[in-house]
């Protein structure tokens, strides 16, 4: 019983992280129909930026942990946003209007470039932060209990807040309308005077920001990272986006949570080594019965 509770909580945390990263995949796919394979690297870079800015916060004499965290989060979001913007500008925009495969290949190239850049600049070793915070909430008795760290609570809260802000911006602001219009009919958006190149850049910045929230939270939680973490996280988040229905924002979050839960339940009750196999088997099963994912829209032929 307690194992179940614990694994549900672990799965929720993992799923939140997957969901935050999956936002970037699903929004970029929605607006320009490409899979941004370099997106996982943005998440990896945000882990490094988190460590760097945290150290800087110490240098500037910010002693209180919450203040330091907010400072770090803000700067990490800004810099990763710039990475997202630059990647689109350099690697994808020049290829707009060419074949569908060209930007995909460019994305794989960009992913390798970013990985190697970080490896050269920061070293290939695992980096570790000292544990920052120990607060724990225990539910249950002396022997059997469910343990929730305060950091895990922060992760869930931060995910909910980020998703709420994003949903509001997309549904209720002129910027969000421009994004949706560009997604639904780019030529028409152009005809209405929307600078769709900027709208697409904005989507990359939003996606990168969400991934950087994930990177900061997970680094805050685990404290260790290396230049390769973006690959696995990226593949998992991409799976989450496809599972939920690529192009759908709630789908990305739902896919992330489902993937996180199923992975951690499988690891807790069956076998840790095969949890990835189970996750991808789940994907295959869902796609067999719902090819557009759980919340995806079927492609409708334009008349």
């Amino acid at each position: 019983m307690y194992i179940l509770g614990q694994q549900l909580i672990n799965g929720l945390i993992l799923g939140s992280i997957y969901g935050l990263i999956a936002i970037g995949y699903t929004m970029v796919y929605g607006i320009i129909g490409m899979i941004n394979f370099a997106h996982g690297e943005i998440y990896m870079i945000s882990a490094y930026l988190f460590a760097i800015f945290l150290a800087l916060a110490g240098v500037f004499g910010i002693d209180s942990l919450p203040v330091a965290l907010l400072f770090t989060l803000a700067f990490t979001i800004i810099i990763t946003g710039l990475y997202g913007f630059t990647v689109e500008r350099m690697a994808y925009r020049p290829l707009r209007g060419s074949t569908r495969l060209a930007p995909l290949i460019s994305a794989i190239g960009m992913s390798l470039v970013l990985q190697n850049f970080v490896q050269l600049a920061q070293g290939a070793n695992d980096q570790a932060l000292p544990p920052l915070y120990h607060g724990v909430l225990r539910l249950g008795g002396e022997e059997d209990f469910v343990q929730i760290t305060h950091i895990q609570i922060i992760i869930v809260a931060a995910t909910v807040i980020s998703m709420a802000i994003l949903t509001y911006v997309i549904n209720n602001t002129a910027l969000g309308r421009a994004c949706r219009a560009t997604q639904q009919d780019r030529t028409m958006a152009n005809l209405l005077g929307i600078n769709t190149d900027w709208t697409i850049s904005l989507v990359f910045v939003i996606g990168a920001s969400m991934a950087s929230v994930a990177g900061v939270l997970i680094t805050f939680n685990f404290g260790s990272f290396n230049f390769f973490i973006g690959f696995v996280a990226g593949i998992k988040a991409f799976t989450a986006a496809v599972l939920g229905g690529i192009g759908s924002l709630p789908g990305a979050m739902l896919g992330g949570i489902l993937l996180g839960l199923s992975e951690s339940l499988f690891a807790g009750f069956v076998n840790t080594d095969y949890k990835d196999v189970f996750a991808f088997a789940l994907l295959v099963t869902v796609l067999t019965f719902r090819p557009t994912g759980l919340l995806g829209r079927p492609e409708v032929e334009k008349i």
């Binding site: 002129a174 309308r177 421009a178 949706r180 219009a181 639904q184 009919d185 030529t187 028409m188 958006a189 152009n190 005809l191 209405l192 005077g193 929307i194 600078n195 769709t196 008349i303």
Partner: protein, 235 residues
């Protein structure tokens, strides 16, 4: 008098395919100008070239004295030009209200007046404000497309086949709206396959044939022109 829109020797196309081969055309302030021609004559390409969607390869597009050739659509479309495109192109998963808001998206500040003006013209768009655009009927979508274009208070309105695929009664209604919009001071360049209706409505007309202007003149005189009658008016 300076023309509101003056196109000189315009060439444009898609890669090796030349859709426009030296177009000369002018639209004076306050006019309805019809552009007629058969399928593939280049009518839509011409409108898209004016809006900067299809980049001109050669020639000049002067709007109110400004050169538009080579400018980006978001620059052009913020200068008082709006288009009602072929096929209406309503944003299918946005509400009617959001579609209208998109029409005014490049204007700052208060759009309430424009919204009221459009709602007064098309009351159905007020009734259906919360409905998803893709679920409207063809005629309602056409009204939404026109309303959306009017949200930016354009001086020049480009309309591409507004009657296409609509029931005859609705077509008549749409043409009445076109006349009304023009009376209210908007200059209109109207592309139509329904040549008879377009010539009845317009002040002047241009006949486009395989990327070139074949005939032009007063709309009334074109209605009597034997060549036009044979090719576009069914005898």
């Amino acid at each position: 008098m300076q023309a509101l829109l003056k196109i000189k020797n315009l060439h444009a196309g898609y890669g090796p395919i030349k859709a426009l081969r030296g177009i000369n055309l002018d639209v004076q302030s306050g006019e309805i100008v019809a552009l007629i021609g058969s399928n593939g004559a280049g009518k839509t390409t011409l409108l898209m070239a004016i809006c900067g969607i299809v980049p001109p390869q050669e020639g000049s597009i002067l709007y109110d004295g400004q050169e538009f050739a080579g400018r980006k659509p978001y620059h052009i479309m913020n200068q008082g030009i709006a288009q009602v495109p072929e096929g209406r192109r309503i944003f299918p998963r946005m509400t009617v209200l959001e579609n209208l808001q998109m029409g005014a998206s490049h204007k700052d500040g208060n759009i309430q007046n424009d919204l009221e003006r459009v709602h007064a013209m098309f009351p159905v768009l007020a009734e259906r404000a919360g409905q998803i655009g893709g679920t409207l009927s063809g005629g309602e979508q056409q009204m939404l497309a026109i309303g959306r274009a009017l949200m930016s208070r354009p001086r020049l309105l480009l309309m591409d086949e507004p009657s296409l695929g609509l029931a005859p009664l609705i077509v008549k209604q749409i043409f009445d709206f076109v006349r009304e919009i023009n009376k209210a001071g908007t200059t209109i360049l109207l592309v139509e396959q329904n040549a008879y209706a377009a010539l009845k409505l317009a002040h002047r007309a241009f006949v486009l044939s395989t990327g070139e202007i074949a005939i032009s003149g007063e709309a009334k005189s074109l209605l009597q022109n034997p060549e036009v009658r044979r090719a576009y008016l069914g005898g």
